[in-house]
Symmetry: none
Subunit: 208 residues, 4 copies
DNA sequence: AATGAATGAGCGTTCATTCAT
DNA sequence: AATGAATGAACGCTCATTCAT
């Protein structure tokens, strides 16, 4: 067992640092100066691992997607039996995602802005549109399978267009989420979880 | 009637040009160089009218909100009688907004990104949070009054929480809207209107 | 008797304002922006009265010299009878100069820096060297005549080179004065008067 | 021994160039354009070595003081035996300082203005007040020890306040020195040395 | 693998000045 | 006598990138 820092370690370390910075300040506002300061590496070292700032962005994006995709609950369909269990699963999954984020952000603050990160990334490189859409589709799938579970246990009227329900719930979540970013809450994590919980309640109230 | 260019004309002209640029490239990516090129004015002239880039942003923002707020349909409650009339009113309103935009954008391209504009503006100046929220609230109100009209004519079950319906529909719209930006459609306006139409259909299907 | 503001009034008003600014911030650091703000006039108005910033400097300089030259005690030779009367005359003259300054500076602060003003003025326009030297020569003359008075009343050994004494005392004063500017005294006027008093004492002690 | 240009070489080279420019034109009038032209380096390169223009000023100032402080005559007290030896020591010291300066200024012109440099530096950064005062105090000390030497050899009446004499002579020198700057002499060095010589003569004549 | 010296274009901003009104 | 719209050059500074070591 050796403590020697491998090239991969350094690359990953740069990616983590860059992700943290991108999420909190936005891609445009992160400079090599910032990266140097936060990584403790020289400009040359960073250029040795990544060909350009855009390269960093793309790599960070992939890194982010990989991290975000890791903690997938295997089969919501088998878990969700009724609305309370759906809600619990959803909130637990989100909590887990937050913990993942916090770990990524150095455990300190959760002052990130995913939306800005996505938008800037996509403006800089159109290739990133596809993975973002895929990520969204994954989340919609997760919801759809949950609805399937509900239906199986008679908690959702048969014949409902589950795919449509899932998509709409997802957008409602997204919209409600973005609202938090416009506000200046103290405890971002709590705000998010509250919004998720309320939105779920509202949703089921709405579809009766 | 005179053709003399007044100071206000120039200010408005700068604001229009800046709005166009901000919407298509984002605040960060618009430089005084761009503004000079597009307005035909010198840097000094622009600074004569606006104290700083941030001042331009704030002024553009107010200008944008004023423009967006002008074409308000007076009373959706009186107009909406059933779902088709709701849908027609909504789409007509959106079409009108698009025309307003297109006029603003010089009639040429509709390659704008409202979301990025809002996010960057707010990141640059927290005072802009409030007007954005107000604008959103106005749109939600519009929807709520439409639901009231529906209810009055028996097209919506009595006792429904109309405010909740309105908010959720708004978020669904927002989410669906943002999806368009991630895609690379040829005819942005048609894409938007289609999405609005589909989303409305989905919504009413969903709440039965 | 009329209250109408004449052109001369405005010119003088600009000069006073400019002098105040030059003395407190230095020529280089005073912009037309500053002049506009402090005079309440427009750029064009200032340019109407003075052809350029250098023109303002030269005019201000003449204005300053005229003001400084106005309060000349007519004949120190007739007044100075002994060292105490010399000291009194000198300090009174300086006090009078300060009052003149304070009036000029709007009665408020005495945070001026004559030395910087002279140096910058001269660097900008070599023609200003001569009047500065003349002003200095006037002050030296004042001292020389005082020494003449002392000698006449037997308070100064006959045969002393009064011109040399005057010049040296003047330089000592200048040096001591400049020292004040390097320090950050609270009460500049008191500091100056103390230094003058001490320097005079030292001087007479020195030449026995 | 290698001819490789090290980072320190470049830093020192920038400092030398900046000092030269500051002394001849004043801090305010020296731009990065000037620095680029005179050093042959790019703006970015200069910024790589110094964080800001103020940083350059402070560093130049320290560099100047270090250079000025290097050529200290060890013990004037042991060397000065009579007025001629005092005068010789003083003029030799000044000549040595001039040579140092000339070397610094590239051997070419001696069109510097120490006074303006000090004033501007101090106005830009109050921390520089202290070292300037210390430098002045060193020169006064030098004079005081010379007087001690004179006294020891009976060339100065016992009981004279040597400290006071030194301070006053220093200010006379300063005043006389500054006069040179107001004039437009052809041979600055000769002018300075003449003034020093005359002032010393005058001084000893004055205190008899 | 990593350093940091150097580049050159671009940034937002301030400046003194001109001129039509 | 006075306004203020407009100019264009210059300012200090930051940026992503290159490259010799």
């Amino acid at each position: 067992m050796t403590l020697k820092k491998t090239a991969d370690d350094t690359k990953t370390f740069i990616l983590e640092t860059a992700l943290r910075l991108f999420l909190s300040k936005g891609y445009k506002d992160v400079s090599y100066q910032d990266l140097m300061k936060k990584t403790g590496l020289s400009k040359g070292a960073i250029y040795h691992h990544f060909a350009s700032k855009e390269d960093i962005l793309v790599s960070v994006f992939e890194f982010f997607l990989k991290s975000a995709g890791e903690n997938k609950t295997p089969s919501p369909e088998g878990i969700v039996k009724d609305i309370p269990s759906f809600k619990k699963l959803f909130l637990d999954t989100k909590k887990e995602q937050f913990n993942q984020f916090k770990k990524m952000m150095g455990g300190k603050d959760l002052q990130f802005n995913k939306l800005l990160f996505f938008l800037e990334a996509i403006m800089e490189n159109k290739k990133l549109i596809e993975p973002v859409e895929k990520l969204m589709q994954q989340e919609i799938s997760f919801l759809e399978q949950s609805f399937k579970g509900l239906e199986k246990h008679g908690k959702l009227a048969k014949g409902k267009n589950r795919s449509l329900l899932a998509k709409n719930l997802f957008w409602m979540m997204q919209g409600a989420e973005s609202m938090i970013l416009f506000k200046n809450g103290k405890d971002l994590e709590k705000d998010f979880l509250n919004v998720y919980s309320d939105t779920l309640d509202d949703f089921f109230k709405m579809i009766k």
